[in-house]
């Protein structure tokens, strides 16, 4: 799977961008040339060798703050994905098997969750339940879970009506065994696609919240907070929003690209793609076998 994704140009770019972001999140504080909280008398300075992206209104190094802020965003986005996965996929698969009452109830609950504007809810809940990114991301994860519910339910419905599953049931297999042996493998690819998209959504939500100053204590650096302070001093540093904005956009773009790449290489479309590739390689007389690179945790 990983090898097939890396065979696509889009997949390579996506994995590259996301690995860089994850590396930054893991090593950011080590790589940062300055203490992200340290103030200095040179406020709102332009880019220079000691301050690559200049300094902000308190004289803090923007580059170090950008590196340090990536951790909040990455952890927040991962939390959204994990919660959405647990809350969405399990009821999604079970809704096919646990009878009509459960099905009806979960369908109505998903209808409700889709209708709720999740940014408003995230703002409300964070403020009411305690100021912290984890609380906000928990709510966002629950509110985006309908995507996972629907995707896994649709995939399960398709498998559950197939003949080999009926044959397995007639042969005496339990529901648990059928889910583990047959359903899981079919449901996994569409869920991975939804997962990659959701990472992008998670990044946008984390940056939106931190932009509003929700969920973080003031001196701590975040991408959204950098944008907010850049907005306040736009007249002095009109280029200041570019760096954090590019980081956010690159991450979202990378995860969308990854989702497209996974969609292209999995399922029916993937088989067609693989066959056409093999045919082309055969015609060219070379065997196209890209070396699998070492990849970060996002590329699964």
């Amino acid at each position: 799977m990983v090898r097939r994704i890396l065979g696509l140009n889009a997949g390579r770019i996506a994995v590259g961008v996301l690995s860089v972001i994850i590396l930054l999140a893991a090593l950011g504080p080590v790589l940062a040339p300055h203490d992200p909280l340290e103030t200095s008398p040179q406020t709102l300075a332009g880019p220079s060798w000691s301050h690559w992206l200049g300094t902000d209104y308190l004289g803090r190094d923007v580059f170090s703050r950008l590196l340090d802020g990536s951790r909040t965003s990455v952890l927040g986005a991962l939390q959204v994905v994990l919660i959405a996965l647990v809350v969405g996929v399990i009821p999604g698969i079970l809704s096919v098997y646990l009878g009509r009452l459960f099905e009806w109830c979960t369908l109505r609950i998903t209808d409700t969750l889709v209708a709720l504007p999740f940014l408003v809810y995230a703002v409300a809940v964070t403020a009411l339940l305690g100021n912290g990114i984890p609380q906000a991301m928990f709510v966002v994860g629950v509110l985006v879970s309908p995507l996972f519910y629907r995707v896994s339910r649709a995939a399960t419905l398709a498998v559950a009506r197939s003949q080999y599953v009926e044959a397995a049931l007639i042969a005496g297999a339990s529901v648990g065994l059928v889910v583990r042996r047959h359903v899981w493998g079919k449901v996994l690819p569409p869920i991975t696609v939804a997962l990659a998209y959701t990472i992008g959504t998670g990044f946008v939500v984390v940056s939106s919240l931190t932009f509003l100053g929700i969920g973080v204590q003031p001196p701590a650096p975040t991408w959204g907070g950098l944008l907010a302070s850049a907005l306040g001093y736009l007249a002095y540093q009109p280029w200041a929003p570019i760096a954090p904005a590019v980081m956010i956009m690159a991450t979202v773009w990378g995860s969308n690209l990854l989702a497209d790449a996974i969609r292209d290489v999995s399922g029916e479309a993937g088989r067609a793609l693989l066959n056409s590739r093999r045919a082309r390689a055969h015609r060219a007389g070379t065997v196209d076998n890209p070396e699998p690179l070492s990849v970060g945790g996002a590329a699964r």
């Binding site: 809940v125 009411l128 932009f211």
Partner: protein, 344 residues
């Protein structure tokens, strides 16, 4: 002569009957769609309001903290909670609150006792102007780009539009807002960078304050509508009835408007229904950037102040807005592509 006029009369009468019957059937179908959609949205509304109301109990906040501060005696806290009716059983509180909502009464703010419905009403006109403008830009822009890309598919126009929609779909609204402010308000000085003027003060002052935030909000909608429309139109062009129409010698324009457009818009319309919660949610951030005292700003301020009834009011209003908008989309969808009713 007499016979023939009678025949005409009969024919025209029958035509009239057919038209009446058809209109009645269409109206009936509309009502059935409406009834089905309402049946779906009633449980949605019940569950959502319940979750909203439960927020107070979960948060453990009380008006006493806002009015008395941290160092209040337990007796004073109990007295204030009794004034607000918070010592009653949870379900009884919920029922009173729910009944009041149905009468349009959202309760009073904990912070200053003001009527929340009035407070939200003040901000709602601003937010709805911006959201409506954003929707119009999104629909017009999205349909234009999507249709153009589908008509000129696999050319450089199609690739340019696809690239453009990819870029704007990964740009969060607040980034677009900052870019717009720095270019058009700070750089060129064409538009005011913040504030709001009601439409009664003149069309241009109103529009100049609404246009930038609306543009910032609309980008996401433009991208999604354009992509869905492109995919839908291209799929519709490959149908057999389009080939049939070409073979019959119909003009490309007629094929596009009568055969393809109507059948290809379903996904784009469905996406529009999902976009509305996003518009409301993003308004929290864009109103902050553009200094608008709207609905989203009110939500943010109320939440940060811990004013639970105000937050609940905001959430209820946003649920009502989303549900209403989805009802409208469902009805339009049922009119345009009757097959979509099966999915409900």
């Amino acid at each position: 002569m007499a016979v023939s006029t009678a025949g005409y009369a009969v024919v025209s009468d029958r035509r009239g009957q057919v038209a009446v019957a058809r209109a009645r059937r269409a109206a009936g179908r509309g009502l059935v769609t409406l009834a089905r959609s309402v049946l779906i949205f009633v449980p949605v509304f019940l569950v959502a309001t319940f979750a909203t109301f439960a927020l107070r109990a979960i948060s453990g906040l009380s008006p006493a903290q806002i009015q008395l501060g941290e160092s209040a005696t337990p007796e004073a806290v109990a007295r204030i909670e009794q004034e607000w009716g918070l010592d009653r059983p949870f379900l009884a509180q919920y029922w009173t609150w729910f009944e009041n909502i149905l009468h349009g009464d959202l309760g009073a703010s904990w912070a200053n006792g003001a009527d929340i419905a009035t407070l939200i009403g003040n901000g709602l006109s601003i937010s709805l102007s911006v959201a409506t403008a954003a929707l119009i830009i999104g629909i017009v822009g999205g349909f234009a780009l999507g249709a153009l890309a589908a008509l000129r598919r696999t050319t450089w126009i199609d690739r340019a539009i696809t690239g453009f929609t990819t870029i704007i779909s990964v740009t969060p609204p607040f980034v677009v807002g900052i870019v717009l402010v720095s270019i058009f308000a700070v750089g060129l000085g064409w538009f005011p960078s913040a504030g709001y003027v009601p439409a009664s003060a003149g069309a241009w002052p109103w529009l100049s304050h609404v246009l930038l935030p609306a543009l910032a909000l609309s980008f996401d909608t433009v991208a999604d509508v354009a992509r869905q429309l492109r995919a839908g139109l291209i799929a519709a062009y490959q149908e057999n009835y389009v080939i049939g129409a070409v073979v019959r010698g119909l003009s490309p324009r007629r094929i596009f408007f009568r055969h393809v457009l109507r059948n290809g818009t379903g996904p784009a319309l469905a996406v529009l229904g999902l976009k509305f919660p996003m518009l409301i949610g993003s308004s929290v951030v864009t109103e902050w950037i553009f200094g608008l005292q709207g609905f989203g700003r009110f939500a943010n301020d109320a939440a940060q102040a811990g004013d639970v009834p105000a937050v609940q009011g905001v959430l209820v209003i946003s649920i009502v807005l989303v549900v209403t908008f989805n009802l409208i989309v469902n009805i339009i969808l049922a009119r345009v592509t009757p097959a979509s009713q099966r999915g409900l």
